[in-house]
């Protein structure tokens, strides 16, 4: 390739231009640049919000009205059948039951993740022991290998010990730690100065007290991230409940919803109402923690 060409240069930054004119141009260019960015953002917002708004519209329609209209109705108009939500929750479908079921699994899993991952992450982050390198590699490997690859033998194991049809297969593994969260917590705890442990040891704290009184209180940002991720992961999980739960009264929201669409005769207005009902807890949680979540991911520093 020939390299005798001038380096590329924007047309309006020629040095001979009059300073004032160039300043005006610069401002015009910045303004139009900004306008373009806002236009793109608004377009993307529409792509996200319109389908949700359509779902909302559909969910509010009475049974006799067609959900699908020749021109899609993006916004609710005259119907407002709020009753649909009640029907989905308790009457026509047991989604309130599903939500309670899911909440039980979610809360137990969060408890398990916070308990186990924090102490395991602490050991990896701040204790010296023989075999730490090897075990850390094992951790990374278990983080990368999809767990679905082991779902068959795990299923057989849980069937053998009589846990099929209970929530235990969905909860108990959380109490033995989740590799990804252990990794996140370890990365975060490594950033806490070592001197604090030394000071605490001199102050007479043992390892457990150092964990409980010093390191754990300083790790709340990463623990929040882990709790939120666990919530989303458990609330949204389909495959786990699909494999282990057989009784309709024990279904989770994801499983109940997936079940709904496989039945051909479910009315669309109720399907959409059920759909919205299941996402509401995650959306509420999201709005509460989204700043912390983004900040948390940044502070955890996914540096590979």
């Amino acid at each position: 390739m020939k390299t005798t060409l001038e380096p590329p240069r924007a047309a309006d930054t020629k040095p001979e231009e009059v300073p004032r004119r160039s300043a005006v141009r610069y401002r015009v260019r910045r303004f139009s640049h900004k306008a373009l960015m806002y236009a793109i953002l608004l377009g993307l917002t529409a792509i996200i919000m319109l389908p949700l708004s359509w779902a909302f519209t559909a969910a509010l329609k009475p049974d006799i009205e067609p959900v699908f209209t020749p021109t899609p109705e993006w916004f609710p108009s005259e119907f407002w059948q709020w009753d649909n939500f009640r029907r989905v929750l308790t009457e026509a479908m047991p989604f309130l039951r599903y939500m309670i079921n899911t909440m039980i699994i979610v809360i137990a899993s969060i408890l398990g993740v916070l308990l186990s991952c924090s102490i395991v992450g602490f050991a990896f982050a701040r204790l010296r022991f023989r075999g730490s390198k090897v075990l850390f590699y094992v951790l990374i490997v278990t983080m990368l290998i999809p767990w679905q690859a082991l779902m068959v033998p795990q299923f057989l194991l849980f069937v053998k010990i009589g846990w099929y049809g209970t929530y235990l297969p969905l909860i108990v593994p959380s109490f033995t730690g989740v590799a990804f969260f252990i990794f996140l917590i370890r990365q975060y705890m490594r950033t806490i100065p070592r001197d604090l442990d030394d000071a605490a040891r001199v102050d007479g704290l043992n390892t457990w007290q150092i964990f409980l009184r010093i390191i754990l209180p300083l790790s709340t940002p990463v623990l929040t991230v882990c709790a939120v991720f666990t919530f989303l992961w458990r609330w949204n999980d389909l495959l786990g409940p699909l494999i282990y739960l057989d009784d309709d009264s024990k279904f989770t929201v994801a499983l109940g919803l997936a079940n709904l669409v496989t039945l051909a005769d479910t009315p669309w207005n109720l399907t959409m109402a059920a759909n919205l009902v299941t996402v509401i807890p995650t959306v509420i949680l999201y709005f509460f923690v989204q700043k912390k979540l983004i900040g948390g991911i940044a502070s955890v520093g996914l540096k590979g």
Binding site: D195, D198, A199, A200, V202, D203, G204, L205, I214, L218
Partner: protein, 417 residues
């Protein structure tokens, strides 16, 4: 209160580097002992071993009459002040200071009383409910001190506690540490790389180099009778001027010659350094402290045997006195010792040492009276207080004719270049 005793303490890290080699050390009860030396000399490792934060590879450490090798840090009855203070960020000042008492299950009332008392000593009363991030550097330092004092321990261990403060605050806190230590009379081991700090604080100063003890003594002893070239070069600021010189005997008098100059060695020096006689006609390393060189014009009736001419290359006025830099037409002393001393000052100092060696010209500094008229480029007569000449054996680095009882005198490195 208790004395601290180290016997044949050796530390080898997992990567096989030997940080401390067979060290014997006694910290007398109630005294402040300073461990000083360039980075990598093992001083912090020694402190951490006393604290129990680091295991010993060999040897024993006792606090009082108790061997503490197998005692965890919290049960050694010692308190430590860290370089970065290591205050618990999520706790208030009060909680920081009270934690160790809480762990020891003191009653709430006693805890409160002791924290209050300590806060008074350090003027921390107003800060007790603040968190560390709301405090200034000096305040954090005081809280770190308070956390140690409140324990009423048998010993304080301090790991460069002042190095994160600015110069002014450092002097102030240094005085405060000294005051508190003298008030409480608690055995203290203090680590620093700053020899000025070591000299002003210590009842006893221990100079270390590469995990080996060089000399233990009072600040005056270290300054006046350095056991070897390393200690001589390390203690004192600006550092001692060092040059290769020859000892000659003429008419019953002894002279030391360097760079075409000749200084008469006074009788009292010869008496104190009897070994010097054995060096007739041989090379020695001559050390002259900057404060022992004066502008000859300011010294009336000076003996011609204690003068030599020089051309001033740089003049630094300090107010109280003036630093004159001048070249000496002799190679600087380049040994492992001087190289390490230079590299401790900085890469630039090491580079300068190399440059001077290749040009075979050493740079001297004289600390002269403020009345001096010496100007840059002007020939100036220098007067040396020849009673305070230092002599070192170039082969071993040992001080000649000095302190035969000096402990662990290992060869300080052969002459290089």
């Amino acid at each position: 209160m208790a004395e601290i005793t180290l016997r044949r303490v050796t530390k080898v890290f997992a990567d096989r580097t030997e940080a401390v080699h067979s060290l014997d050390l006694d910290v007398p009860d109630g005294k402040l002992l300073v461990l000083v030396g360039p980075s990598g000399c093992g001083k912090t490792t020694i402190l951490r071993m006393i604290a129990g934060l680091e295991d010993l590879t060999e040897g024993t450490i006792s606090i009082g009459s108790r061997v503490v090798n197998e005692v965890p840090p919290g049960d050694r009855d010692i308190a430590m002040v860290f370089q970065n203070y290591a205050l618990y960020p999520h706790m208030t000042v009060y909680q920081n200071m009270a934690l160790s008492l809480k762990i020891r299950k003191l009653s709430k009332d006693e805890m409160k009383l002791r924290v209050q008392e300590t806060a008074e000593i350090l003027h921390l009363q107003e800060l007790l409910h603040k968190r560390p991030r709301e405090l200034s550097g000096g305040q954090r330092q005081r809280v770190a001190m308070g956390r140690a004092i409140v324990r009423e321990p048998q010993a304080f261990l301090m790991d460069e506690p002042l190095s994160n403060l600015d110069a002014k605050l450092r002097v102030q806190m240094r005085a405060e540490i000294l005051r508190i230590q003298q008030d409480l009379k608690v055995t203290t081991v203090y680590v620093t790389h700053d020899q000025t700090e070591a000299m002003t604080l210590g009842d006893l100063v221990v100079v270390l180099r590469k995990g080996e003890l060089q000399q233990v003594g009072s600040p005056e002893e270290l300054y006046e009778r350095p056991a070897n070239l390393f200690v001589g070069g390390f203690i004192g600021s600006p550092a001692m001027n060092l040059v290769e010189a020859t000892v000659t005997a003429e008419d019953g008098a002894r002279f030391v010659a360097f760079a075409g100059h000749r200084l008469r060695v006074p009788v009292e020096v010869l008496d104190a350094r009897r070994e010097l006689a054995g060096f007739d006609g041989r090379t020695v390393i001559l050390g002259i402290r900057p404060e022992d060189i004066e502008d000859a014009a300011l010294v009336p009736r000076a003996d011609p045997g204690s003068r030599f001419p020089a051309v001033v290359a740089l003049r630094e006025g300090m107010g109280s006195d003036v630093f004159l830099h001048f070249q000496v037409e002799a190679p600087p002393v380049v040994t492992d010792d001087t190289r390490e001393l230079a590299s401790d000052v900085g890469d630039k100092a090491l580079e300068e040492l190399r440059e001077q060696a290749s040009e075979r010209r050493a740079m001297f500094i004289a600390r002269v009276g403020p009345e001096t008229r010496a100007a840059v480029g002007a020939p100036t007569e220098m007067h040396v207080d020849t009673r305070k000449l230092y002599f070192f054996d170039p082969a071993t680095g040992r001080s000649i004719g000095e302190a035969p009882e000096a402990p662990s005198m290992h060869a300080a490195g052969a002459m290089a270049d």
